[in-house]
């Protein structure tokens, strides 16, 4: 990739949000007109427990530069324990992806409640900035794999 | 030489929804290039691989008859990835086909003889092709009898044509449904039972059976009882296919490849193939 392209490059980030907390948090950020980078595409899921690690790996393979998964704070899950189960999955997935050499910034997790519009904006800003720093995804991207 | 894996470009000309559930649709396809139309020579019983770029290919029996010029007809049941996508097509959309593939019903051998056609469900497609072909060359053939069954009246395909065929005097069409419903004026009962009841004569006759495996399984003994010789009992097999040209291996049964040695087989042939039925 050339320098020039790099300047114009905008990261594409998939935000997988749970229906009950983080999606509502994003909604609140919106109606409160809180500014955050426009780089995320939102995928709404019933619960962070619904997030199959395959979703995350497939997103990277199909060209997303990063994935953010956000759910209810521990103890707040609409389904009582969905986010606890999710947390265990992520606890394995994250170091595993790092281990094979996927930049740690690319896949991030957060808890954002329905009332935390401000926090949602902060999370998205941080993730976007992190991914900007590491640049366009090239590993695990189908057709673009590079060393 | 043209690459045989590259599909022939076609356009969807007409779509007919066959059943109220909208799981069966009939597609008339036109050739985009006239030269392809001229080259496409087929006979009833053959099939094509229909191709949607980016989605894949699926094999379908040709429901039109070579005597109907200018288009190809396919009736497609919505079951999987490709068929789902085909059901999303609209008139005017582009599709591809590869074919004609496979062998055909032995219409030459039928000449001067009686033909009994037994069909069930939406596997009726190539039987339609056969019937239209026979009717177009009506003088070449003896009596034509057709028994066609469906679970309920809604599930018959080509309903308009069925109406017309019922009225014809130069053929006999018997329709049957599994369970009686109000207003139904034809047979009631499974295809094997109705076939047994009608007992078409095996004298100078051929029988073509096509339908779901379970129907074939129970119809063949009935037909054998009617004294049709195995060589004159014709059926069309279905197997999972990919290449359609006898290479990729998945439709292999015994030493035969359903896609190139079949799909049309006589019972005599099938009896030599382990586990074909």
């Amino acid at each position: 990739m050339q320098e020039k392209d790099k300047k114009d490059w905008q990261p594409k980030i998939l935000a997988i949000l749970c229906n009950w907390c983080s999606y509502a948090g994003a909604d609140l950020a919106g109606v409160s007109r809180i500014q955050y980078p426009p780089n995320i595409r939102v995928l709404r899921v019933p619960c962070s427990g619904r997030v199959d690690p395959m979703f995350i790996m497939k997103s990277l393979q199909n060209g997303f530069d990063g994935v953010l998964v956000s759910g209810c704070h521990p103890g707040d899950c609409h389904y009582l324990s969905g986010n606890y189960n999710a947390r265990r999955k992520f606890a394995v997935l994250k170091p595993l992806l790092e281990y094979i050499g996927i930049e740690t910034e690319r896949v991030q997790f957060s808890w954002v409640s329905a009332g935390e519009g401000e926090r949602f904006a902060e999370v998205v800003t941080k993730v976007t900035n992190d991914i900007r720093k590491v640049g366009p995804a090239k590993r695990l991207v189908k057709g673009v794999v590079s060393w | 030489m043209k690459n045989t894996y590259i599909p022939i470009p076609m356009k969807v000309d007409k779509i007919v929804t066959e059943d109220p559930e909208k799981t069966l649709r009939t597609y008339d396809l036109n050739f985009v290039n006239k030269s392809d139309l001229e080259k496409f020579q087929y006979l009833p019983g053959q099939f094509c691989e229909m191709s949607l770029l980016g989605m894949g290919e699926s094999p379908f029996g040709i429901a039109s008859s070579p005597t109907e010029e200018g288009f190809l007809r396919f009736t497609i049941n919505r079951t999987g990835l490709v068929t789902n996508e085909i059901h999303n097509l609209r008139e005017g959309d582009a599709v591809g086909i590869r074919g004609p593939l496979g062998n055909w019903y032995p219409v030459e051998d039928f000449k001067g003889e009686n033909v009994v056609i037994v069909g069930g469900g939406f596997a009726f497609t190539t039987l339609r092709s056969l019937l239209v072909y026979l009717l177009a060359h009506r003088d070449d053939y003896g009596e034509i009898t057709m028994i066609y069954g469906a679970r309920n009246p809604d599930l018959f395909i080509y309903k308009n044509e069925l109406e017309a065929w019922l009225k014809r005097t130069d053929m006999k069409l018997h329709l049957t449904i599994d369970n009686a419903v109000d207003g139904w004026q034809h047979h009631v009962g499974f295809v094997p039972a109705v076939t047994e009841e009608l007992a078409p004569s095996a004298e100078k006759a051929w029988v073509v059976v096509c339908g779901p495996p379970i129907m074939i399984k129970y119809t063949l003994p009935v037909i054998e009882k009617l004294k049709f010789p195995d060589e004159r009992i014709i059926t069309s097999l279905e197997r999972r296919m990919k290449c359609g040209i006898g290479k990729c291996g998945r439709c292999n049964i015994g030493s035969q490849y359903v896609c190139i040695d079949g799909p049309v087989f006589s019972l005599a042939q099938l009896k030599t193939i382990p586990d074909a039925l």
């Binding site: - | 030489m1 894949g56 040209i245 292999n252 049964i253």
Partner: protein, 345 residues
């Protein structure tokens, strides 16, 4: 028969690689395969048999059938230069001929080019195969079961024997004839060389185990169809496709689309009759849903079905599957068990 001194081998290979895409055995053990080489140093000249057969070049595990963009379809069949294969064992040379019967030709529609595989033909028809006699067959080799032998001249365009100091080469086909004519500056093999061939041949053949007659097996197989022996032989099979993917004559493939509707490619990629989904239909029905049926299919296809169509076995006895099977399901043992089985006719 011409003689290429080993001292000249480097130059010979160098010249060859200028005119052809030159493929030869490369690498050791599990990594060994036929790969394109530019010079003699890259070639593994002492290998008994490569783990990956030359099939992987003619029918690659995955290849693009065509790429599409909108309605536009582009395909590429022809390799830039014709291929020359150095050091193919006779079993593998034979396997290419067997594959050609399926891929390059069509028994059912011999005259219709629509039933020939254009990608296979583009590679195989112009390729020159040099069959290198097998001086030291491995203990897993059983080419003698199905009509082969370490020094067989039945397949290939050229035939060569490695002696202590040289490679002795003779043509087997018209293509080979023309190739040899195009060579200059090489001696003709002497009487003494020919004697050493006879000696090597005798020694090589002595390494092989006694043959089981594949033709008897072929006759026997239909009787075994319902035999409970199939349960026994298939019991340990885990239904992976290591045997098939490593087999020089397994050709089954799948066709898949990758990419999106408006831009992507149609690829083909090896598939295997050991996988349950290989034959699973959209309705959910599977004609070969049991492991026993799939193992039986594979054995029957190699030793019976192919024979019914083409008059010979589809197994060339290279022994790769024997070596690679994770549960040591040895096809030779299966064949012997089937032959000994007391199956009712």
């Amino acid at each position: 028969m011409i003689k290429i001194e080993k001292s000249n081998f480097g130059t010979f290979i160098q010249n060859l690689s200028a005119d052809y895409s030159l493929f030869a055995p490369v690498g050791e053990g599990q990594q060994s395969a036929f790969r394109e080489v530019k010079n003699a140093e890259q070639i593994n000249t002492h290998i008994q048999i490569t783990q990956n057969s030359p099939k992987t070049v003619f029918l690659p595990q995955t290849e693009v059938l065509f790429e599409f963009s909108g309605d536009d379809i582009q395909s590429e069949e022809k390799p830039a230069k014709p291929m020359f294969f150095w050091g193919v064992r006779s079993c593998d040379a034979k396997s290419l001929n067997l594959l050609d019967k399926v891929m390059g030709q069509s028994k059912q529609r011999p005259d219709d080019p629509a039933f020939q595989d254009p990608y296979w033909k583009a590679r195989f028809d112009d390729a020159i195969i040099l069959t290198l006699a097998c001086n030291e067959p491995a203990s897993t080799c059983f080419c003698n079961w199905t009509g082969g032998s370490p020094f067989s001249k039945d397949a290939g365009d050229l035939w060569a024997v490695e002696t202590e100091t040289a490679y002795l080469v003779e043509p087997l086909s018209e293509k080979g004839e023309a190739f040899v004519k195009g060579l200059s500056g090489y001696d003709t093999a002497s009487e003494k060389d020919k004697q050493s061939i006879a000696k090597l041949k005798k020694q090589a053949e002595s390494y092989l185990q006694p043959a089981v007659d594949a033709e008897t097996l072929k006759e026997k197989l239909p009787q075994t169809w319902e035999d409970p022996l199939w349960d026994e032989v298939s019991a340990k099979c885990v239904n992976c496709s290591a045997c098939a993917f490593i087999c020089p004559t397994c050709y089954c493939f799948d066709i898949q689309d990758e990419g999106k509707k408006d831009k992507g490619k149609r690829i083909r990629t090896w598939d295997c009759c050991m996988f349950p989904i290989f034959t699973k239909e959209a309705s959910g029905h599977n004609p070969r849903s049991l492991a026993r049926e799939r193992v039986r299919q594979r054995v029957m296809h190699k030793f019976r079905y192919f024979w019914e169509i083409y008059g010979e076995s589809l197994c060339t006895g290279c022994g790769r599957c024997v070596r690679v099977c994770p549960v040591n399901l040895d096809i030779r043992e299966v064949a012997k068990q089937l032959l000994e089985a007391d199956s009712a006719a």
